[in-house]
Symmetry: C2
Subunit: 345 residues, 2 copies
């Protein structure tokens, strides 16, 4: 009667063995679906497991096999549709192979990234997914050297040493700008969101490409540079509209920024989109097709990107010596309601 407070500790392989009247290696064989178990024995073992509610101890398994079926994801934050979509892709691919996902959010503490990465490399995980990493110089070196499997997600300018996946940023912005030009716009502003700087740079190039094609000179006034740091749609829009030659269309490098810009245009300047001014977003997050007017934007296959990245990682966990590879997914212009030809006159 003394010391009754024991935890209701789970049944082990040994309990099953006793109950089924077999050796515990036989139980293990049944548990891991190994061949060489007679149907009768298997049956008895299975019943014993059922009866005792047996489930294998993952820690013991992992200790022995060196694999945990856990993948870690490092991301700055998760509260956006954009990230939500990427994770949908992760989870689909991971669930298909019975992998679980461990989440690390840095909330843009650069220092924290390096710290997390080394924790992850030493912890439970079999691999690491880095989503739009920042301050990567501090740990990428070590990661590469370690042989620990990883994949970088949303890599704009791929390094040949890193496995990564990205999209056609330049083409995406090019397509959008070209569309606006074809509509007749000649003064097109480009507002960028807080984002991976490289991504913004690439999109900017696409914007320039299209302009060049139409022989429109690049006007830095239409591309407020400081916005790379902290976008203030209201102030920026204001400044844009005060130009001697204000834009007739605004290209943004993310849908949420486009939403804000549309609001400001309507409420603070009494301008109607698209009649008075056109707006184009980037990414095509779910809300883009719901807002009013429905947003014309560049589709970024976020979920697909997540899926591809996760699959790449799983492959590399299986075969750690696979050479680095960069996959680039296609963007696609989605034309909806937020653009018109410019007002004449």
């Amino acid at each position: 009667m003394a010391n009754t407070a024991r935890k209701p500790s789970r049944a082990t392989i040994i309990d099953i063995a006793k109950l089924a009247g077999v050796s515990y290696s036989t139980v293990s064989r049944v548990a891991t679906n190994h061949a060489n178990v007679s149907p009768g024995t298997r049956e008895r073992v299975l019943r014993a497991m059922e009866q005792l509610g047996y489930t294998p101890n993952q820690h013991a398994r992992s200790l022995l096999t060196g694999k945990s079926n856990i993948v870690s994801v490092l991301v700055h934050a998760i509260g956006t549709e954009y990230i939500g979509e990427i994770f949908r892709g992760f989870e689909e691919a991971l669930a298909a192979k019975d992998y679980n996902l461990m989440l690390y959010t840095t909330h843009r503490h650069r220092g924290r990234e390096a710290e997390y990465v080394s924790n992850i490399m030493q912890g439970f995980a079999d691999g690491l997914l880095l989503v739009v990493p920042m301050g990567r110089e501090s740990y990428l070196q070590r990661l590469r050297a370690s042989g620990f499997p990883y994949v970088i997600v949303e890599e704009a300018i791929p390094d040949p040493r890193d496995p990564s996946v990205g999209i056609t940023n330049r083409k995406g912005a090019y397509d959008a700008t070209r569309y606006l030009l074809q509509l007749g716009h000649r003064r097109i502003a480009f507002i960028t969101d807080v984002m991976n700087l490289n991504t913004a740079v690439e999109r900017n190039k696409g914007y320039c490409d299209a302009l060049a094609e139409f022989r429109i000179p690049y006007d830095p006034e239409l591309v407020p540079e400081d916005d790379f740091i902290r976008p203030q749609p209201s102030a920026i829009t204001q400044r844009l509209l005060e130009l001697r030659e204000p834009p007739t269309a605004i290209l943004t490098s993310s849908d949420p920024i486009a939403f804000r810009v549309m609001e400001v245009l309507s409420r603070e300047h009494g301008l109607h989109v698209p009649q008075d001014i056109s707006v184009v977003g980037f990414d095509d997050i779910p809300t883009a097709s719901i807002v009013s007017p429905r947003l014309t934007t560049v589709r970024h296959p976020m979920a697909e990107m997540g899926r591809v990245a996760a699959r790449m990682l799983l492959e590399r966990i299986q075969s750690p010596d696979l050479p680095p590879e960069h996959v680039q997914l296609e963007t696609q212009l989605v034309i909806r309601e937020s653009c018109h030809p410019p007002r004449v006159g």
Copy 2:
């Protein structure tokens, strides 16, 4: 030279012991910061660890101690600011105690919840955080019986058998409605979001409470019931405005719905918020203070809720026999720009 392909397997406690010239239990003592190690020895061990890049094998540790320092979180999806804030709270509390977070998203597959829960109970995690769970009947029973630590987050109508945390939904809606009434509104619509049904019901009660206080009869036309399932702000707003006596104010049960309603009001009906009609949100997600007009809303302390829930869970992991407890956090009306007194006449 044969069989060189070995993994660069990590240094173990034994390698360190050899290098430092001590027994490996001494190394363990140093690793776990146990007392009773002479400074000299500790120093040598530490150097050996450094030299070999030693980090303890978590699986071995967990196998022995029965603890993994991992908490699982079950949630329907992560791509909203609302969920992002809750997770911020989780992570703060978890990181403070060196816990890691494993993520399971169900994407509203009810069946998947039960499946995940049993996986989680048998897997690596020491505890489980259930965020706005659905189809809970199917697994709560088992969870309660198992003694596996868990906490329900955002529980509107707490069950005395479950540890949970929630907010003053009823009071929140009451405060908002009362504010509108005090402003002079008499026709106030109430639109609910896709959400935990219980939460919606509670908020509806608060709405009714305030109405009753002002002796305004409850008009079901102002509270479209079918919206509990799938809200269509555009259609609903339309219907509301077509009423013989249309509302002069619209209360919504989430900020994103309020945003959509404001858009529709402005674009499809040419109505200005707040001059022509008032709108109130619920939750106070970060965007609420950025949109134009800045949204008057009921603050839901999401991050705090996450923090409290995670701390509760950690306590229960330490002391599994703690009795269930429900914590209710206070909401608070945040007055910004989206409400005015009603137009006269």
